[in-house]
């Protein structure tokens, strides 16, 4: 077969591509390295860790560290492992995600299909709320939660995450619904459909793509949160991120690095799993959030 005619020399072209691939692979290794280290360290015994090095494979694979991290490691005064905190996280993350997504969907619907005077201005005000550093609401919120009787409780955490997640979820849905032609709503109104009928029968069936993006984004943000967890809960009510930090920072006794790593992976598993399974929606959530206003 005849070789296709090239106007440039093939040599330098190949070299350039080899360089590109090399760089990319090196970076990939750099990004994977910490994960690799976490996994291998969690499978080693303490002796193995001390005698080996960071990237060495475990001499004998042992799941002891995992068992301990889950069931008996000390996270402060309590030594019951992370399983309680894992459940804590689940019990407030799921409701918070569901509620904030639902409200966000309605808000987005209203802001695009039922605009009224000032609704765009109100949206901008809401959006600005995305930018504030949360430090500036911690003290009043701590006080308010106390007054409402939900301090240091799961409902309290749900409340906080819903309130401060609304701006993002509204943004997602609003940016999505803006692409739905308004004539669809007009036709439905002429057909006699009202506010809720249009949402339920027409808008919602169009929404799965953005619902997935929103749920993934919210789940990741809320599960990974530390600030609200550490300020608004204590002891056994704490989410897994706070418990992890406590576990890793205990100064008593011997530092069990393998347990630390196992605990970190346990804390990371849910969001990593979601990422692996639905990564492209995660990406869409990130870029949608970045294309603000």
């Amino acid at each position: 077969m005849a070789e296709p005619y090239r106007t440039q020399a093939v040599g330098p072209h190949l070299v350039a591509r080899a360089a590109v691939y090399t760089l990319l692979i090196l970076f990939a290794l750099y990004y994977l390295m910490p994960l690799f280290v976490m996994i291998t360290t969690s499978l080693k015994s303490l002796d193995d860790i001390r005698s080996g090095n960071l990237v060495a494979l475990p001499r004998a694979v042992s799941l002891d560290a995992w068992v301990k991290a889950w069931g008996s490691a000390c996270t402060g005064v309590f030594c019951g492992g992370l399983k309680g905190n894992f459940m804590n996280s689940v019990s407030f993350v799921v409701p918070a995600v569901v509620i904030s997504t639902l409200i966000g969907a309605f808000n987005g619907y209203v802001l695009t299909m039922w605009r009224f005077k000032g609704s765009d201005a109100l949206f901008t005000l809401l959006l600005i709320g995305c930018f504030i550093p949360f430090q500036v609401v911690l003290l009043p919120m701590a006080q308010t939660l106390g007054w409402l009787g939900i301090a240091n409780s799961i409902p309290g955490l749900i409340f906080v995450h819903v309130v401060y997640g609304l701006a993002f979820t509204t943004l997602f849905f609003r940016n999505f619904y803006v692409t739905v032609p308004s004539e669809l709503t007009k036709a439905a109104r002429i057909d006699g459909a009202g506010f809720f009928t249009i949402f339920w029968r027409i808008i919602l069936p169009l929404s799965p793509p953005i619902i997935v993006v929103c749920v993934i984004w919210q789940f990741t943000q809320i599960w990974n949160d530390f600030l609200f967890g550490v300020v608004f809960s204590s002891g056994q009510r704490q989410p897994i991120t706070v418990a992890l930090n406590n576990l890793v920072n205990t100064t008593t006794g011997v530092k069990e690095y393998n347990v630390d790593m196992a605990a970190a992976i346990i804390a990371a598993l849910p969001t990593l799993f979601v990422y692996v399974v639905a990564g492209k929606y995660f990406l869409r959530g990130l870029t949608a959030g970045a294309v603000k206003g």
Partner: protein, 307 residues
Amino acid sequence: MTPSVAGADAALVRPRKHLADYVETVLPKVVLGPTLLCGLIFVYGFILWTAWLSFTESRILPRYDFAGLVQYVALFANDRWWIALKNLGIFGGLFILFCLAIGLLLAILLDQRIRAEGFLRSIYLYPMALSFIVTGTAWRWILNPGLGFEHLVRQLGFEHFTFDWIVTPGMSIYAVVIAGAWQSTGFVMALFLAGLRGIDDSIIKAAQVDGAGPVRIYASIIIPSLRPVFFSSLIILGHIAIKSFDLVMALTGGGPGFSSDLPATFMYTFAFNRNQIGLGAASAMMMLMTVVAIIVPMIYSETRRRG
């Protein structure tokens, strides 16, 4: 209900408006109401509350009598606050710089029609799915002098290699930069990649016909047209930097001592651990003002420019 009219000569009738129609004009506002109320109270209201606290002498319990700028004076007389500010500058600057540079580089490399692009992209991006606590924990182990990276390099033969930044007061903040950049670069890469893909092919072809080489095309055409992406990335990275709390707590705990403190950790420590609510509130207000002072003008000038 509305009476119907028979005959073309009947007087024109004016039917009454239904209750349902009134409801429909009110309903949208009702739906939006709770969210707006939340924003009003829990964002803007709380900001005012914290502002007020910063003007009082609150310590363990909040007090509401006005005390002037006493907390702000105390704040700026506090060495630890100055260290936190300095660290913010160092961390923020380097963090943003590395994320932008590496993110852009990776995006450009990935844009070269690489095989397995999707796979590589997901590798660069997965750190964003992790909590900063997890990242901090992992890097704390990696940067562990004695058992981590330092130990590894020494085992490879470089016996005098030291990499104990994480326990060195002057260098601990740079360790935070490393971990932070590792986590967030993928995100910037994703933004740049989307930006690169959005560039009109025909402009590049025109440049090629004009005789420009690849480096020239990148420098003069592609990178300048990524300006909006630089801009969004800058805002988001700046935002992440100012809010950085989780990462520091997990990686260094603010230490050694308070050498790697940042305003966010300062605020937490003083407001919640040291029972100095007034001082904590003042530091929180300073954080807010930093965000406003930097981000608002940036947004304003860029929207003006795009006009």
